[in-house]
Symmetry: C2
Subunit: 246 residues, 2 copies
DNA sequence: GAGTGGTCTAGACCACAGA
DNA sequence: CTGTGGTCTAGACCACTCT
């Protein structure tokens, strides 16, 4: 964050504003795991002194991190690394809610989980190098005892060493974060209406061809790398996907 | 924006921060149409002097308005009232994009448009008083000549006097804003996969029962009032609904 | 009471747009 | 050249939390 654009004559690359550089520095430290999940960051003044900028500039950087849900600020307490608890995941990444209004985290049952080589499809969807090792998980999620979501999940094995030996929990993103230091920061979903294919029909105890909501999600890490590919088929009789536009 | 919490003894209602009050004042002026769409607002210093606060406080309010797409800030030019042109609507409120990636605004054909009394369904969905007059528009939207979206739109007649005589354009929200001073600020959508009903099947030249994406949207104005209810059935063979989570 | 983030102010300088 | 928003700083005071 020291000096910068002095030079002698014309220079290109006007460089990003200070607060953006501070933000990037902080993101880098978050990625490196300098602070654990839920841990308090140094105060604004400490960070400012540390990086040789004013407290106001650090504040702007922290505000932007808070806006992206990477940290949580609590007045009178401090600034904390965001936690991937169920409540947060539910709010941030789980957009299927009951028609009556209330959201409920569905229970999960793993159908299969195995390690294998990425298919051509995986490579394309996740922008992986050919021949990458991946884990592939199939599971069924139920709400109120009724199976309504069939998920097919693919994750790069390199990011999750020994994942096969793990008992997959309900909240996968929490596991990614706590056990592997891999933080899902954002995701992109593509939705379609499709006829339920045979495999999913079996899992969901529904008829082949039933209209189902297909949710195709790519999840990205703090540094923008692809962490997970997840394709879900959902029966939306008593559910809907909730989306806010503004 | 003057004095406030002096009192003599204990008072409740800690009142919102100054910048929020400034924001509200500005929103109110926007609703009242003090500045036309696309018009430049007074400079930060003028507004600050006007309201008796510092320029930094006005800035924070304007930044928040810009974050909500209510104004557009252009360095060296000024701050302008957001325009509801096709590009903005496309980006902000139209989430259906071609599978190949490119978004394209579909052409529209109005099937019917008539004035009538709100049904029980309308009343419930839009929180209207019983017996409210509404306009009901049905239209079909096509991409590349192929009909893919059947829309059923309901708007309160009170907000749109003489709407029936109007030729409904492709970009309805632009018309709402320009002709009636009604600005759609945000919307909430509920998505489901359903079997295509008979009426929509006819309009979309598809078989009854084909899986279709049902999009149920409520659009809200600057002041939070309900402006429109729109239910769309979409054929998602070559389209998908794009959603960003973070 | 001490330490934290939240608000508000004031002023300096920069980058950009337009006359 | 002037006026605009964008960045950065510095300091004051408030509200909240915990000890």
């Amino acid at each position: 964050m020291a000096d910068s654009n002095k030079s002698g004559f014309s220079e290109r690359a006007p460089q990003p504003p200070l607060y953006a550089q501070v933000r990037n520095t902080l993101v880098r430290r978050l990625v490196e795991g300098v602070w654990a999940e839920g841990e308090m960051l140094p105060s604004e003044f400490e960070l400012a002194a540390d990086m040789g900028v004013s407290q106001g500039t650090v504040r702007k950087a922290l505000d932007s991190l808070a806006a992206d849900n990477l940290v949580v600020r609590r007045q009178g307490r401090g600034t904390f690394v965001a936690e991937h608890d169920e409540a947060r995941i539910l709010f941030q990444f789980f957009k299927l809610v009951g028609d009556s209004g209330e959201a409920s985290f569905p229970e999960s049952r793993v159908v299969s989980a195995r390690s294998c080589t990425a298919t051509a499809e995986d490579v394309k969807a996740m922008s992986l190098p050919q021949g990458t090792e991946v884990f592939r998980i199939h599971r069924v999620r139920s709400i109120g005892g009724r199976p309504v979501i069939a998920e097919r999940i693919v994750i790069p094995a390199a990011l999750f060493p020994g994942f096969a030996d793990t008992e997959a929990p309900n909240n996968l993103y929490g596991l990614y974060a706590r056990r592997y230091g891999v933080t899902v920061a954002r995701a992109h979903e593509r939705l379609k209406a499709v006829a339920l294919p045979e495999g999913e029909a079996l899992l969901l105890e529904a008829k082949v061809g039933t209209p189902a909501l297909l949710v195709d999600r790519i999840a990205y890490g703090l540094d923008g790398s692809v962490i997970e590919w997840r394709v879900s088929h959902c029966l939306t009789d008593d559910l809907h996907y909730s989306s806010d536009l503004k």
